[in-house]
Amino acid sequence: MAFAAVAILTTLVIGIPMTLAVDRDARSGALIGLSYLYGCGAVWAVLFTLSLLHVRWTAMTTTVTLVAFSAVMWIVVLLRRAEAAPPGAAVDRGPLAMLAPIADLATVYAVVTFAMYATITRVWEWDFWAIWGLKGRVFLEAGGIDWRFLQSPFNDFAHPDYPLLLPLNYAYVAVTNGQWDDRWMALPGIVFGVALILIVRSLAARELPRFLAALLAFATAGVALSQYVGLADAPLIAYGTAAILFIRRGILFDEASGFRHGAILLGLAAGTKNEGLALIASVVIAMLIARASKWRDVLRLWPAVVIPLPWIVARFAFHLQTDIARGSFISRAIERIGDSGVIVASLLRWLPDPWLWLLMLVGMVMIPRTTRTAERFILAAVAIQAVWYLAAYFGTPLDVIWHIETSWPRVARHLEAPLLFVVMLTLAQAFERGETLAHAEARPELS
């Protein structure tokens, strides 16, 4: 456990200058959450680069390179001028402010008990030992990315095309430890969930009184701490949701740092799972559909495309196929249009957290129309991402019902956190309006 904790702490420390280089005014929960997310991105980038340069991963080579990377980032921080700080949480003197620590304690309790569950034994999930953990372990043995393993037709089950951010972070924990030990490999995934909770808490506090922000963070714990222990869904939820929430800040409050964080986090989401690549398209289309952004804003997201590019190039160079794209995806999708009823019924049957979804829909209906208009970026991004998932099921080369049963309860949860944030935030603002608006920022009206 100690080595996993050391690796996580090192990752977080490495991420601090990266966070400050992007946004010198990042503070408290957002600073810690972003630092872990960026630190994991740095580990991915460093181990990937060392591997391409044929430098064997050891505790020495990885640590020295990460420290050098961190030093460069500190120089960037020192050279960077501070921007006008985004409005932080005003001092909350409302009658419920004193309840905020209680809600925060409840969140801590939820995290601790989830950690007890996730670390009750070695990571047990099939997809951990057959995909994400397997690659981490194979690459550790090889001292770098084992391209021969990925290219072997016998290893198609390990999905060689999947992005490597999580396996390389597992490998980093093992490199720090000096050997593979899956007893505590659930810890990095738990910290991804905690990072998102901290970011949500911090962003919500900029627009809501403390108690309501704390309640929103508590609710987020339920969706950010993925029960699929050891899989890449927890990091994807963290990166994807944080990206959407920061881009929302960029759009609604014209925060340059919101676009910068959003772009990098979106790129790291694409480095985590193929669904992250789809999310880039969803976000761009949503920005344009929402008519909340100009092309100039969309172009600010260029890091989202640059960050996953090396992996995409490597994937093509090493001929690592995506199973879902094998054969004719489009003809399969067209053939299945006749089965739409069965597919939709199956999606509804296997929808996770149906009560939560129902309440989010009710909440959306209750939100005042002007607010809904302002928030249409998030609503559109989530809806478009859901359409990609739906399209993937229609075009899957696998048995579609089996595919839905085995993946939809997991991937549908990718969509929950951003939707939960925007619905709870706008509901809270609706009943706050006219009472204690002193802490809430003015929301621009969008046409």
């Binding site: 939820a110 007890m116 569950y117 016998f154 508590f218 939560l356 309440l359 989010m360 709870m424 009943f431």
Partner: protein, 144 residues
Amino acid sequence: MRPRTALTIACFAALVIASIRIPPLTLPFIDREPIRRSMTVLPDAGIWWPDYPRFLQAVRARTEQGDSIALFVPTFTWEGGYSYAYYRASYFLAGREVLPVIVPGDRRVPANVTRARYVAIWHGRPPAGVHVVFEGFGGTLVRR
């Protein structure tokens, strides 16, 4: 308080409640040992527990990085258990090259036996006259 405001507050509160995952919250107050035991067995449930993972660990201890190992288990159908045995062996024997003798569609690949430096046989009898490296946990490791 206007009815709409009350409904908004109720919806917000309901969302907080609906997002709670009850089972982990009770963990500090219950006996966790049965859960730990069932989660430990889960990846190898059925005929595989406890010997198959132990056999694979023993094979790992007796082979070197880069060695190739062909795998035999008491099923010759991919969906009937061979795929699981192969995936599991790939994890435990990471760093070695695990070679399946069955592939999807239940096609046999005898060439992988010829290619392999070792043959790992679980719940099967090795042919006579081969060099047995290890026997135990229901399996035999043979050097070719």
